[in-house]
Amino acid sequence: NAHGPKPIGPSPPLGLRDCDSSEGEEAAEVAMDYINTHHKHGYKYALNRIEELRVLPRRPASEVVILELDLLETKCHVLNPLPLENCTVRELINHAIEADCDVKLLKEDGKLSVTGARCHSSPDSAEDIIKICPDCPLLIPLNDTQVVKTVELLLDQYHSTNDAYFMLIEIARAQMQAPNTIIAEFAISATNCSSKDASENVKACQALSGDQAQFGFCVGSVMHVPKEEIHVECEVYAPQSEVAHPVLAKDN
């Protein structure tokens, strides 16, 4: 427009908005709820920072919101019924996992819904942790034979003091504390067996499902030298229906 006001200075890239704006906060909250609901393994994530926010008009009267998020791992396993607000973010020295997510949302009639999300997670740098805490335990692969054996020992130990038999759902974390201790965290599911039933025929034991489904989460450690020392503590959550756990309903 040769006659109208002339904009001067660099023009901002299309659709970019302030990351800490109310629309960014609102979209991030919807995105976090979606990510944690659809996250099937490991721990719930907490928002650390909105890296980028873009809002683009979409015909006839809606908007597309594109978010780039930086997330941190919490100590709540995905099966833990605690709301995210009550979950503690894992400290850096505990060798946590971080995630970067790109989320696309649609805003129609003022209501936001997620249309797609892609996340990439990775452990924090072991070198950085060693720099600030040389003796802190570092993550080791979940399929390491020592880890698998450790979890078997821990679950056996738990069953030795409990009548109900629980089966392993997944190993969620494993750390090596130099020189000879393995720390493991794992999720468990209640079954239709007692510990005695399981000792006779473990193959007949089935995880309880539907309204009967009951999950738990254990943290334990095994020190091998000088003598084997086993410590395990499990928290069993109140029975929950699959409706309350869309993750399980989708990917049982």
Partner: protein, 35 residues
């Protein structure tokens, strides 16, 4: 008195010219800690 004008900040050269809005503030605040 000579006044040196900075060239990095755009200024309106003609009455009625408007400045583009400032670039958005991103990334946003850190809620927990910097990685």
């Amino acid at each position: 008195l000579v006044v040196k004008r900075t060239v990095s900040e755009p200024t309106a050269e003609h009455p009625g010219d408007v400045l583009h809005p400032p670039p958005p503030q991103c990334p946003g605040r850190i809620r927990h800690f910097h990685i």
